[in-house]
Amino acid sequence: MTSQSEWRLETGNEWVSRDPFGVVKPADVSKEQFPVAGDGGVRLRAARNGYASLRLWVVGSGEYRLSAQMAGPVEVDLFKAWYHKMAPGKEAEEPRYCVDALLPVAGGSLQQLPDPDNAVAGQTHQEYWIDVFVPADAPVGPAEGRLTLAADAERVELPLTVEVLDAVIPDEDAVICDHNSYGCRWIEGMYPSVFAGLDGDDRWDAIIEILHHYYRICHEHRGMLSNLGSGHAGTIDEVYVPTLSGAGAGKGIEDWTLFDRHYAALLDGTAFATAGPGAPAPRRPARPVWGFYSPIHVDWPGDYLWWGREGYEVEFTRCVGQFDKHFRDKGWLTTRPYLYLNHKKRYRWYEWDGDEPKYAKDDVYFLEMGRLLKKAVGDTPVPWLFRMDASWQMASHFTKFAGTVDYWVCGGFANWYPEQIKQTIARGDTVWTYSGTPAIDQTSAALLEHVWRMWARGVGGHCEWLTVRPGPDPWLNCDGAETGMIYPGERFGIAGPIPSARLKIQRNAVQDVNLIDARARAEGRLEEVRSAMGDSTPVTLWRDPPPVVLAEPPENWDSINLSATQDDNMARHAGLDALWWAPIRRAAMGQEAKS
């Protein structure tokens, strides 16, 4: 095919996306500026051991090849953005397209505009996400390269200069961006070509392999995958548990084969030494996962039939003790296995809430589970945690469950309890928060609200409750993908997940926070920097509770008298400017005023 128009390259910062016709996403329009290019081409500043990114638009029509070259150890990854066709709204309107999923492409590979697979009528712009990776040992100073567009006889070159800073981004993240997920049955539906004709062990092997790819993509993006095996009904797929045998005093763990196949590489870190399909070679250290959902729940290994009786205690303590011993024998002493109870009484399988408990009368069950866990594992070197996803009762639970629960993942009500949270952290507990994820038609940088808030509050992590299921048809009838910033690669012939702009924006923000945190700690002025930056950052950290919270016990709160729900997506109300993160980026790059 012959090029029918003049080709050109346009560039922009990572936080502003455009539609397939070059129009900036309405939510990304800003009066502020954060240019990445000038007369001399693209110019980025980057700390070592991390990424700098930009968006690039190929403008033209016909076949083309895009490539990137860099001198020295600096590497460049190209990703072609998918234009998600948004599900129609209530009123008839023209189709809307938003960018998010990023398809890795080889430099110099043949592409077409309009993109035939994306099938956007009249497409004039193709967005690319450019990741520039600067290794920890890269020389400080400018690294030169170029981006090249070749189309027929035309050739467009854009110089690319990366100013490599002396700063090295720490391997350890100051905050943990947790990507939550439930079970593994969704994988088969997302990857039908992988599972065609598979059954038995082959099927479980394929599930484990793809799960590992999800762990990898999170790890490489300075995040973490959490994958909960147990369902609300007290059932759990066999890939998450060692096999039990017997009952009562004779109950014990019989077979670790499938469990070890699933978890061993995650617990010793070797899973992260290899790349997922389509992904560049690993650039992050291969280390054990920070933590994982242990298979323990109310119906495993103890039989809930015998809850409150001697038999439940015997089954629980014996089997959990064996579980702990297996970890000690294997030397899995880094990863934190957590006891987490996900069931909710509203679903009618159990009489108490394991997740987001609302009723104080349910507290006795938590205390009992905590007692059983301690009895089962004793003074073990395995760093067990008892996790509670705290909500309605969190203010009283911080006190009542001190010494029982030591890992708190707090919902939006955490906004009301700054002092209690600080005290809970001060006694050594792990405190995180949780929420949903902004949709792809919202401000591209909206999800960074959570990154900022966790660091500014001093909490260790933030769990986005579901990030691997971007909807029934994220490609051509997208519902906003609030539940998936990691996409299946199946459509593109990739037997694993592919990243998104949201995932990469989040990764880059974690890098920024790491730099600011490390520098502030080294200077002995962490709280000073937190406070000073917090004053100039448009994210509210704490709020006063509504009157009903002060007047009534949590049992009497509801989504009417609170004017909110525990599931509220905080980002929806943020109203953040598209470039709100830019001052934080400048600070991370050492460009902040030294006040």
Binding site: Y182, G229, D237, K345, R346, R348, W349, E351, W352, T565
Partner: protein, 175 residues
């Protein structure tokens, strides 16, 4: 008779045996009081603009729930089939039912997160006649079901126990 029909008939017979036991030993006085009055009020009076309201207020009597759940577990384990059980109770003043307690994941009538449902025809029959009702597998749902009436101290049918089992296959932990 095809093999599938024979399997379904055998399963229905097995579920009927369990249903008779359930009808005989479950205490309607307890089952009907599992869901607290306040919770039932919000089930009966949902506010569509506040979709979490019913869940916010859902609560049960721990002891009554626990006893009924354990009895239903024991009944299900009398069979080698993968039997899921649900105790359905009427929503006061409405032609609807809601689950008070259940076990297992293969249910014919419960949709995840559902707060109430129009009373299915065959469940109406169980409530109305006080007899065990057998519901054969349908083409799109390879499960067999038996509905067993549960009576209170006045002899009124105040709950229906659903016993459902798949003709084949394992039930997923997450679907």
């Amino acid at each position: 008779m095809t093999e599938a029909t024979a399997n379904a008939d055998a399963l229905l017979a097995e579920l009927t045996r369990l249903g008779e036991i359930a009808a005989g030993i479950l205490d309607g006085e307890e089952v009907k009081r599992i869901i607290t009055e306040r919770a039932m009020h919000y089930i009966a009076n949902p506010k569509p603009e506040h979709r979490y309201l019913g869940g916010d207020y859902f609560d049960v009597d721990h002891e009554l729930f626990g006893r009924t759940k354990r009895l239903m577990i024991r009944i299900a384990r009398l069979s080698d089939a993968q039997v899921s059980t649900s105790a359905w109770v009427p929503v006061p003043g409405q032609a609807k039912v809601t689950v008070a307690v259940h076990n297992g994941v293969r249910h014919r009538y419960y949709d995840f997160g559902q707060e109430s449902a129009e009373t299915p025809r065959e469940m109406q029959e169980a409530f109305g006649t006080g007899e065990i009702v057998r519901v054969a597998p349908e083409s799109d749902r390879a499960v067999a079901t038996v509905l067993a009436p549960v009576r209170d101290s006045l002899g009124e049918v105040v709950a229906v126990i659903e016993l459902t089992a798949p003709l084949e296959g394992q039930a997923p932990a997450w679907s």
